[in-house]
């Protein structure tokens, strides 16, 4: 008789277990499906555009004017805009970020570190519109006074504010990488008579290099995908130019400006999806690189 009750309880528990597993499973499948949705949606909406306008036109045209009566579909102005602000931003951010990381990981004493590290992590979460506010209202005026450009809102403004936004991300990730270098490596280096700097230069940095590279890739990925700060900072003239003191329009800004105006299903709508697809692919590749580098690195140190 006891066994009968026991079996019944067991069965109930198994049903409950199955039910809950089912719910969790549904959530799991749902989450993966949703994520696949993005890619599929981008592709299905851009294919008609590529069919009618063509890949060559898109990738080699130097004018972007989708709503003109003679629509121009060259993505180059937008692409160079994005590259210009992201790369110049990276050139500014990476050295400063690395220097800051080395300080944080090796030189700062623990009290300073305890405050500085979380402070930088919190600052990575400041909304981008606030950086945009600063760039539009204050930074642009400072750039006017120092460089006297013919445009107040220009690519340099965008690059500098992006650099400021990139540094916290880059510092967080690479600091963890440097921290994770095992103590015995450092001690071995000191034991052989190296100074602290020589140890950092020749032992720690090479050991943490994958993490550092990943952090740079992540930061650049963030810069490429940033919308509000560049929208407010760069003046949005869609011209194909490499002049840092001129106004540019990034891919993200072009989407923010042009998508609301496009009638759903029109050629402009599809063309903008093509830009979105390109942007998606670029950020995906950058993040993939960061991921691969990081996972290889973690395998080495398991």
């Amino acid at each position: 008789m006891d066994t009968k009750i026991y079996k019944r309880e067991n069965r109930a528990r198994r049903y409950a277990e199955g039910g809950i597993t089912g719910i969790l499973g549904a959530c799991g499948i749902l989450s993966v499906l949703i994520l696949a949705l993005v890619f599929i949606f981008l592709i299905t909406n851009s294919i008609p555009f590529f069919q009618s306008v063509g890949l060559v036109n898109f990738f080699t045209g130097t004018q972007w004017d989708p709503f003109a009566s003679e629509a121009m579909w060259g993505v180059l102005p937008l692409l160079t805009g994005t590259i210009l602000v992201s790369f110049v931003g990276a050139i500014i951010a990476i050295p400063i970020g690395l220097g800051c990381t080395i300080y944080l990981s090796e030189l700062a004493d623990s009290k300073v570190k305890k405050i500085l590290k979380p402070a930088i992590e919190i600052l990575a979460g400041v909304p981008s519109v606030i950086y945009g506010l600063f760039a539009a209202l204050v930074l642009s005026n400072w750039i006017m006074e120092i460089f006297d450009p013919s445009y107040r809102l220009n690519a340099l403004n965008g690059a500098i504010i992006l650099a400021i936004m990139m540094i916290p991300i880059q510092v967080s990730v690479s600091e963890e990488a440097m921290n994770a270098v095992p103590r015995n490596l450092r001690e071995a280096s000191y034991a052989m008579g190296a100074t602290r700097w020589e140890t950092i230069k020749s032992v720690i940095i090479p050991a943490a290099l994958p993490g550092i590279i990943a952090s740079i890739a992540l930061a650049i990925g963030r810069a490429v995908g940033e919308t509000m700060a560049v929208l407010m900072a760069t003046g949005n003239a869609s011209q194909f130019s490499f002049d840092i003191l001129t106004s540019v329009r990034t891919m993200t800004a072009a989407l923010a400006i042009d998508v609301p105006e496009a009638a759903i299903g029109s050629l402009q709508y599809q063309g903008l999806f093509a830009v979105g697809l390109l942007l998606f692919i670029i950020t995906f590749v950058i993040n993939l690189i960061a991921d691969m580098v990081l996972s290889k690195y973690q395998e080495t140190y398991k």
């Binding site: 809950i20 597993t21 969790l24 959530c27 799991g28 749902l30 989450s31 993966v32 994520l35 949705l37 993005v38 949606f41 981008l42 909406n45 050295p95 400063i96 970020g97 220097g99 800051c100 080395i102 300080y103 930088i120 992590e121 919190i122 600052l123 979460g125 400041v126 909304p127 981008s128 519109v129 606030i130 945009g132 600063f134 209202l137 400021i164 540094i167 916290p168 100074t195 700097w197 020589e198 992540l218 990925g221 995908g225 919308t227 509000m228 407010m232 993200t252 989407l255 923010a256 998508v259 609301p260 759903i264 903008l272 999806f273 979105g276 942007l279 995906f284 950058i286 993939l288 996972s295």
Partner: protein, 287 residues
């Protein structure tokens, strides 16, 4: 001239200190600008009135009540939509599918989707929710779009919290006769709760600070507090953006700074809560 090794080290170290100082300086200057220019506008009226037009029509009078409520409502909806799917989905994928080979590639994909630009999510939001599902320009379109945007982040942080638990706890529980689900419910989840909750708070604060998805899915200039999820709405980040392009700049700019200050304070509170939770639970559950 060859610097001695010691002097070389000293030079580089001062360079690195300088870099750290520069970083702190940039961020301090920006924060101080917001505080100095914005603190003056924060009054009780500012926080409890909706934006109102001045004599020539610019919405620079009144306050930021509807933007604040709009942002809070957005975060609430995102909490209701994204968190259950993200957390439970991640639990399922980690606990029940962790051994499959495709699991690794799937998580790599999820990780990368966390890096998709917010404007691309906005594109999705417009095409699918505003238009295809006919939700129109509304609070719910924006909320779902934001939920999709933070879903990967929630999933990844849940996964990391779950994987931080030593497998010995899991094995011990199973060894004592508990079912898989009982183990998860009573042993794994409590230990990982702090990590999961931290991830939730940080994702919500990220969602609350985003502007681009809102621009495309339903913000309105003079919206009041939404009475239904299909209404248009205001939000703090959009209000700030709007104030930088409004006329009557002498009044608009201080309002922008004031709203920026409120937004920063809101974000700071959330991030501090997350950080405190993380450190407190880390101490409580040491193994």
């Amino acid at each position: 001239m060859m610097l001695s090794r010691k002097n070389k080290e000293r030079m580089f170290f001062w360079l690195f200190r300088g870099c750290a100082a520069a970083v702190v300086a940039f961020l301090t200057i920006i924060i101080m600008f917001v505080i100095v220019n914005g603190a003056g506008t924060i009054t009780w009226d500012f926080l409890t009135q909706n934006p109102m037009p001045n004599d020539t029509g610019a919405l620079v009078s009144g306050g930021i009540l509807s933007p604040i409520i709009g942002t809070l409502m957005l975060m609430g909806l995102v909490l209701a939509i994204a968190i259950p799917i993200g957390v439970f989905g991640a639990v399922f994928l980690v606990e029940y599918c962790g051994s499959y080979k495709w699991s690794r590639y799937m998580w790599m994909t999820v990780n990368n989707l966390a890096g998709v630009p917010s404007i691309v999510w906005a594109l999705l939001g417009v095409g699918v929710f505003v238009y295809y599902l006919a939700f129109g320009l509304s609070l719910i379109s924006a909320a779902i779009t934001l939920s999709l945007m933070i879903l990967p982040i929630v999933m990844v942080s849940t996964k990391e919290a779950l994987e931080a638990i030593p497998s010995s706890i899991y094995d011990a529980s199973i060894g004592l006769g508990a079912t898989k689900w009982q183990t998860i419910l009573h042993h794994i989840l409590p230990y990982s709760a702090s990590g999961i909750i931290t991830g939730i708070i940080l994702s919500l604060s990220r969602a609350g600070g985003e502007t681009a998805p809102l621009l495309l899915t339903g913000v309105a200039l003079n919206a009041t507090i939404p009475l239904s999820i299909f209404d248009q709405f205001q939000a703090l980040p959009y209000y700030i953006y709007m104030m930088t392009s409004a006329s009557d700049r002498a009044n608009a700019y201080p309002m922008a700074y004031g709203a920026a200050l409120v937004l920063i304070i809101l974000m700071m509170i959330m991030n501090l809560a997350a950080a405190t939770l993380r450190s407190r639970y880390r101490e409580k559950y040491k193994w």
